[in-house]
């Protein structure tokens, strides 16, 4: 009996996540049009500092190696530094994802003294107009200023994370040059129709030709650019991209949201993909190991409509978040299926389609345009 391949082992889940995303708050000073967590207003049910420390204690016991902190804007938590410090002192590596507004010179110097810490600055355009179209007026300047503060403080390599859209696909070389200039690491990730992204998807998601462009660019940049393995659906175009080329949701990764709810991943904040709450008896550990949702996800998944397609081995049917929020079946093609099968289904469903699923919660600030509030 031959051993299962590594990816097959991982699809069956592990006793503990390898890493996970933890959104610390729904509060955010920005109002990006594609925000996966529909952030803006703080939720009054947010985990307290004590509850957050208890989660970190569980993650340490589980030997989770690394947490990706985000939000909203995580630096808006008053206990932000306390939580980050506690994590790194307890054997949990931390990366936090920020828009940079609050990463001033003082914060940069403080971060530069810390170990086992990565900083990731979000940027969606190499120039003000391209970036701010999506992230709001002033957001480009805030991000670049944060990068300059990190550089001045001698922080070392940080990460620049770009969500690839129709409007910035042609800027990939310039993003790489920007990152190289700072000695930073570039990360480019896939836009999903999640959160506010559901409403901006039609305008922002790359065209088929642009997907090919992205794929070939990634192949050309080898190990130098991170992707969060988010483009595995493009592996059907040819040689597989680096990474596990599988959906990790509920199997090797998951999301803890600001109020302690656990979801399969940050792109599926919806009851359909909610596994439980860290406030329930048994905490996070019980949810990870025994929740119905995660047990289901760790079963072999049906290829369904994709079973007869020669590309399925490479693309694995794509991203369940992309399918779910565009109203497609989970056991069928991705809306951005490189062979066009998703597009065909969407076009056929068009006139008769009911409303697509909506995110579980909406913390958007009412009436907010993608405008950055300036610091007082």
């Amino acid at each position: 009996m031959s051993p299962r391949s590594l990816v097959e082992q991982l699809k069956g889940g592990l006793d503990a996540p390898i890493c996970l995303t933890w959104e610390l708050t729904y509060a955010c000073n920005l109002a990006c049009v594609h925000c996966l967590s529909s952030s803006g207003r703080r939720d009054r049910r947010e985990l307290t500092t004590a509850e957050a420390i208890a989660v970190l204690d569980e993650l340490r016991a589980l030997q989770v190696f690394y947490v990706n902190l985000g939000g909203g804007e995580p630096m808006l938590r008053r206990d932000f530094f306390e939580l980050v410090t506690y994590a790194v002192h307890n054997g949990i590596g931390v990366k936090f994802s920020t828009n940079g507004t609050y990463l001033d010179a003082t914060a940069a110097r403080r971060l530069a003294t810390m170990d086992y810490l990565d900083v990731q600055i979000s940027l969606d355009g190499v120039d003000g107009p391209t970036n701010d179209h999506v992230r709001g007026v002033g957001s480009y300047t805030a991000a670049r200023r944060a990068m300059d503060h990190l550089a001045d403080a001698g922080f070392g390599p940080f990460k620049i994370s770009v969500v690839v859209t129709r409007h910035n696909v042609d800027q990939l070389d310039e993003f790489k040059a920007l990152a190289d200039g700072y000695g930073a690491q570039l990360r480019v990730t896939r836009l999903r129709p999640s959160g506010r992204g559901a409403d901006s998807w039609a305008e922002l998601h790359p065209t088929n030709d642009q997907q090919r462009q992205i794929y070939h660019w990634l192949l050309g940049h080898g190990d130098g650019v991170l992707t969060g393995d988010s483009f595995f659906h493009l592996s059907a175009l040819g040689e597989p991209l680096p990474g596990l080329n599988m959906c990790g949701a509920g199997r090797v990764v998951c999301l803890i949201d600001p109020i302690g709810d656990v979801y399969a991943c940050p792109f599926v904040i919806h009851d359909e993909f909610k596994a439980g709450s860290v406030r329930d008896p048994g905490g996070f550990t019980h949810i990870w190991r025994d929740s119905d949702l995660f047990r289901d996800l760790r079963q072999p998944q049906s290829a369904g409509a994709c079973a007869s397609c020669g590309s399925y081995d490479a693309c694995q049917g794509g991203c369940m978040a992309a399918k779910f929020f565009t109203g497609l079946a989970l056991d069928g093609p991705d809306p951005e299926c490189v062979d066009g099968h998703g597009e065909t289904l969407l076009a056929a469903a068009g006139a008769t389609a009911g409303a697509t699923p909506r995110p579980a919660m909406d913390h958007s600030r009412p009436g907010a345009q993608p405008v950055a509030l300036t610091r007082r």
């Binding site: 051993p3 299962r4 590594l6 082992q9 592990l14 006793d15 503990a16 390898i18 030997q63 190696f65 690394y66 054997g91 590596g93 086992y116 990565d118």
Partner: protein, 89 residues
């Protein structure tokens, strides 16, 4: 390789799994899957022996399998999961 003295780098956490283990290097953020329990046993035993060969013998690894183990240990050394420990005088 067989004569080298190696040990798990102190910056590395080794987390057992049903298929073997995960090794995570906190300094480099590199993650390595050890895909067979025998590799895990060998990695854990390296620090107790003076050479890779002695470790493989002590772990009852058949000699015909040594080339794949040497390849694995070389990869682990290259990625920083294993290091050459300072000699204790």
């Amino acid at each position: 390789m067989l004569g080298r003295r190696l040990a798990l780098d102190p910056n590395v956490a080794l987390r057992p799994e049903p298929f073997g283990a995960l090794a995570y290097h906190y300094g480099t953020r590199r993650l390595v899957f050890l895909k067979h329990p025998d590799v895990v046993r060998v990695v854990q035993a390296l620090g107790d022996h003076d050479s890779v060969a002695a470790t493989l013998t002590a772990c009852a690894i058949a000699e015909a399998r040594w080339p794949s183990f040497v390849a694995a240990l070389s990869a682990l050394a290259d990625s920083g999961v294993l290091h050459e420990p300072a000699l204790i005088s």
